[in-house]
Structures are given as structure tokens and as C-alpha cells.
Symmetry: C2
Subunit: 152 residues, 2 copies
């Protein structure tokens, strides 16, 4: 692990919470001059093991990804179950929810971000990896996501 | 100009509005394991020619930039004059304000974004270039900034 909390200086993803993933995807596809990507549901609790504010939650979201030259833009339409996505949408409305960094060693980086004053708000698993969101209110002034993808 | 409104699929910058640029810069420097960058004021009206919601405004902001591997993170501490930065901070609090794309041909891209349903909310000049912010509420679901830098 690099000797600083994020361990990387490359932004992997910008995550945007939306109310209607099909409308938002069509709009981004128009702006970027590309095809509308297919959206998919995040996995069910049995696979995702989503925890929000320390509690298990059945929350899921529809996700769509735009692969830009230097990062991904992720659109997220949450369901109505408790999650940082749903809370964000209810509190702030549609908009940028997080800035994501890909790390190697989720546990060590989670500890390092916590030491740096960021608070873990949600985490979960997906096929081939895992994520964690951190409240950066008193640090980055933005929600930071860590992503870890298992090596094939 | 590329035949799609943004004309590029590379994100140049993520802009974060903050209340205290020194505290926010110190936090990001810690997360990224780098030096704290010096902040500077945006230029005064005579140079910046800032327009917010179609009206001239003396608004200025303190800016600090982190040069990451694949884009810049810009921290913005607005003054109290009318601007999209100040309005964002008052309405949403600290957080990601915009996603920026660098274009070639500000007028043509402004027209293209307007045609795509984004509304120009603020624009201005800086030494060597100009910027424009667009409300993407009914499109990108985020504020989009266009940057144009004059070729040396």
C-alpha cells in the first residue's frame, strides 16, 4: 500500500445519483455522442451484503456506466430501501454523489481513510470486487468511494 | 468540432465547492499524499467579466488545484457575491459542484449544449482561457463546465 490514505492519484469514477436512469442515460449518450448503455440492477443482498450505516440493507440500485477516455461516469438510480444513494437523492436531489478511487487492499485503505477523518457510510460486494463509501464532510468535502477489483 | 455536444470524452476536472479552502486543501493533500497547493483568487470583474444568470457580477472565488494522474480536482471557496458557487454552497452545502470538459470552440459548444437542453448559468474569463457552467438538471443531472484554453 502506498503511504497515503487513497494509495492512488487516479480518479476511477464519478458517480451521479438520478431519478430515472433511462432518461439520464439517454441525455449523457447524447452529450457524449455514444450509444445508450444498458443498465443493470446491483446484486441482491445475498450477494451484495450491503451495509448502510452499519446495518444490513436490502437496498439495490440500477447502474449504467459510460466508459470515457480517462474514467467512468456511473449513473445510479436507487430503489426506496435505505442506502446512501436514496438518502442523497432525498436530501440533495439528482447530482454527483461520489468520486471513486480504485485501491489494492480494501481493509487497509478503509482504516487509513477512517484515520484521516472519513466515516464509512456504506459498503457492499459485487461480482469480482467490493466497494465502500466514505463521508468526507470534514475532509474531502465530498463522498469518496473506494473500489477493489479482484485480480483474475 | 466533433459532432456531439461535448466534443470530447475526457473529463478535465472535478470542481468541489468548499467553505474553507485551506482546510479542504490540507485534507485533500493528506488523502493524496502530496503538498498543499497554494490557492489564488479568480480575477476581478475587469478581467474575468463574470456573468451569472445573464448579469454581470463582481463575484470571485479562491481556487486550489490538485493535479491528479488523469484529471484535476479543483477546490472553490466563493465570496459572498452572486455566483453559481455561492448559490450552490448556500443550497447544497460543500460538495461536488461540476464536472468539466475542455473544448475547442466555446461558442459552438455553448450552442450545442443549449440545444441539448442545458442552460448556461455562469461564464467568465481567466488568463489564457474562458469557462462556462451549464445547469444539467434535465440532462446530465449535474452541472457541466466547459473550459477553453487558448493555444500558446
Amino acid at each position: 500500500m502506498e503511504a497515503y490514505p487513497l494509495g492512488t492519484r487516479r480518479v476511477a469514477q464519478i458517480g451521479i445519483v438520478v431519478r430515472d436512469i433511462e432518461a439520464a442515460s439517454a441525455a449523457w449518450a447524447r452529450l457524449l455522442g455514444c450509444k445508450v448503455p444498458k443498465w443493470h440492477w446491483t446484486e441482491a443482498y445475498e450477494e451484495a451484503r450491503t451495509e448502510y450505516e452499519g446495518q444490513p440493507t436490502p437496498a439495490r440500485a440500477k447502474l449504467a456506466f459510460f466508459r470515457l477516455e480517462n474514467l467512468d461516469i456511473e449513473l445510479i438510480e436507487p430503489d426506496d430501501q435505505p442506502s446512501t444513494w436514496r438518502a442523497w437523492l432525498d436530501e440533495h436531489g439528482e447530482g454527483v454523489h461520489h468520486v471513486a478511487f480504485e485501491v489494492d487492499g480494501m481493509a487497509a485503505h478503509t482504516e487509513a481513510l477512517t484515520q484521516a477523518g472519513l466515516r464509512l457510510i456504506q459498503r457492499g460486494e459485487y461480482t469480482g470486487g467490493r466497494y465502500a463509501y466514505f463521508d468526507g464532510a470534514s475532509s474531502a468535502r465530498a463522498v469518496i468511494e473506494l473500489l477493489e477489483n479482484d485480480r483474475p
